[in-house]
Subunit: 238 residues, 2 copies
Amino acid sequence: MGVTPPIWLLPEAPRRQRGLDRDGIVRAAIALGDEGGADAVTMRAVATAVGSSTPMSLYRYVHNRDGLVDLMLDAAMAEVDVPAEPGADWRADVLAVARSSWAMTGRHPWFAELVHSRPPAGPNSLRKQEFLLAVFEKAGVALPTARGFAQLVDGHVLGSALQQAEERKMWRANDFRSIDDVKAVAEQWFDAGHAATLYPRITQLFTSMMSADAVPESPDEQFELGLACLLDGIAQRI
Amino acid sequence: MGVTPPIWLLPEAPRRQRGLDRDGIVRAAIALGDEGGADAVTMRAVATAVGSSTPMSLYRYVHNRDGLVDLMLDAAMAEVDVPAEPGADWRADVLAVARSSWAMTGRHPWFAELVHSRPPAGPNSLRKQEFLLAVFEKAGVALPTARGFAQLVDGHVLGSALQQAEERKMWRANDFRSIDDVKAVAEQWFDAGHAATLYPRITQLFTSMMSADAVPESPDEQFELGLACLLDGIAQRI
DNA sequence: ACCTCCTTGTGTACATCGTACAGTGCGTGT
DNA sequence: ACACGCACTGTACGATGTACACAAGGAGGT
């Protein structure tokens, strides 16, 4: 309905783009996530990042969002250093893989947020899992038990990563620029008068955290502490 | 524009509802989440659950969705048994709180999914945290170190809970009714021929899991294992 | 060289989500 | 009896994932 307007008024058909491919899409999605967290990885954002005018272009290559996420996760897992064979010291092997994983999640804060939404069945995920199983098996642990141990280590890495990701997300959401901004907001949330009597220890930690010369708690230290405790416990069971 | 139609054709104004309150809303939201997971807790669903025709009714009471989530989380945390004072045995105290928390997350599968989206600043969350700090302090640990230990325990509970929540979500999403349904789908995903050479140990675990008389791996056992390992490691550092 | 087809990118459209804004009916205080 | 204001309602908007039909342009056959 309606008369077709003269052609000069109609915008020219936009130049077509060629040469999209799965790898470029995944790379763009990862870059987006590295910078803005998991929330920044929307199909539309990825599409414009690869120069496409519509999110639908991506669907030919990654099937759907879950597929894209799976590819992102596996690409990130590929960055984890996994030896071909277990070495002489099981503890050193586990430590190395755990630390390499932790370093990866530090580089890709979206990883922890997204891994919980998909089953970890990518090849690189399996490779890491297989290695941990081999390490524990070589240390004399039966396979089912080894699975339990490996899952423990994995769980610790992912849990720590998730906590770190939350923290970063909060910094982004509130546009925090330095630790001082955090302190300013924290002070508002925490009504010291009320809390001091009910939660004296938390209050004490809080005030010492608010002091000018406070050493910022390091996620790395907490990660290492948990890992060490876990491995000690495992060692007692081998 | 347009003539007003005769009144009999217009639907009568729906009866107004009175007596919404925050408690009822939170309770309804929790019931929804218990049954359908975090995804089922939409403002619209909660609104219809409390008999309101529009989600906007809720906003007077819970401010926004984040507020509702905060209230849900704190209500769930209230179910965790936290003694008033530490007992004689620090390990028993920590075990009891951890297990009570784990039981709670089992009852409320949405908890683990949602807790990661909000800072844990509710009063019941603080109460539990304060207790754990007191327990470790009584055991002779300096407060900053105690915080590290408490966070470790907390992290393990939440990590285990999250894993369990994912699994339940997958059951819901694929409408699994029994373990056999899981096996049927797993068989498709896992191309045994390819994996057998690359991941022999995973394959072995997989086939033993697929066998008819396989004992299903229990999340509780895994939780207890991790907790025990963690506490062993902590014990060595006290 | 031309016609045809298949691959691949595009545009439009819809359901669902959270929630802003402007009413509107009822209980209540005067 | 009257008006005020609280508590609820309806409509609407922007964001998200994605289904569907279409169009451009290279590839292959003649």
